[in-house]
Symmetry: C2
Subunit: 230 residues, 2 copies
Amino acid sequence: MNIILASTSTLFGGNYFEYLQHEIAELFTGIDEIIFIPFARPGGISHEDYTNTARTFFAKLNIKVKGLHEFEDKIGAINSAQGFFTGGGNTFLLVKTLHEENLMTLLKENVEKGKPYLGSSAGSNIGGLNMKTTNDMPIVYPSSFDTMGLVPFNINPHYLDANPDLKHNGETRETRIKEFLTQNDTKVIGLREGNWIRKVGSKITVEGNQLTRIFEKNKEPYEIEAGNEL
Amino acid sequence: MNIILASTSTLFGGNYFEYLQHEIAELFTGIDEIIFIPFARPGGISHEDYTNTARTFFAKLNIKVKGLHEFEDKIGAINSAQGFFTGGGNTFLLVKTLHEENLMTLLKENVEKGKPYLGSSAGSNIGGLNMKTTNDMPIVYPSSFDTMGLVPFNINPHYLDANPDLKHNGETRETRIKEFLTQNDTKVIGLREGNWIRKVGSKITVEGNQLTRIFEKNKEPYEIEAGNEL
């Protein structure tokens, strides 16, 4: 496998994928066209507008982008594609659409054959075992929470440390992930913005300029440094 | 109907339901025992421990509390109850459990007969039409997102304004609710901590010391003051 699962597309104050441009170019070496999966539709943006955002970025790498929504035969499109990028937005909407169109398993099989895959945020969530550690609001009801399982754990993108100044009693991210672990025995990678997971062959590492927080059942959460295997 | 749907049980720096004690006493006037529904299990706390938290508070009002988990015949228990309180925690876990045990519709029918109902956080979410505007993490997969519909809209408890100082690209609460409205034509009440919804008969008002933010499809969000009808 050859994949990048990024916490976010855009760092605070930065431009779209500016911080990850070098690694994305390397991921898609030798490839001149990819399929963009726009179904997460951040803020309800149209599939076309969202694809154009990806298109503008990938033009810098001389890679053409086709939106998966453009194809009548989506199954054929995925089977013929050279590589994939799934953008962020709402994970429930993304997962519902992929299951409805019977594309989740197909996409997994294509990535497992070695076609490069880039995910960010919701697009990274679907690289995990299931979407039960998304931060998103359940605005639609998917037929299943299962995702591709390209990596043998779950991802929490945009991982955010508790803010001790906040006078608010909503749950912290850590509380939510610990609640998940009371119901599931699945490792969760708290991926801070600026970090990403890289899988080459069967080797999985965490990369970026932040520490990464790991949550496992019946263990205290712990932090690992970039470059370490997951 | 005679219900209170509160944003939270506990204000920052306050004690459990301290801010709402007077209104809760009024809601349960003439009642000496209620059933507590502990299924949301905040932080994975046991049903028994969670029920004890409620029990300690209601002892001040001379109201006995039985946990719904204590009954083998839960349907009989709900049908014989004088009133109900559903505590907060994880909405997915609460809704999954209520549907699995065929209690969602039964609870709704009992509340519609006039038995007083108190909800806080997840317990308020289930008073809305569905749970699609919860803030919680989808740690388990419920058989449906539909809830009781005691009020003809959805609730977003712990409503939180965007923090302009936060250097983070996760979605704001407002962005999430607007995403919900791209997929659903359902009014959403953004209930800030310290506020609650009161329904007496068919009259529904918002109460508390904060403004309440209302979201409707194809409209700019707007704020209403306490005492106004919803």
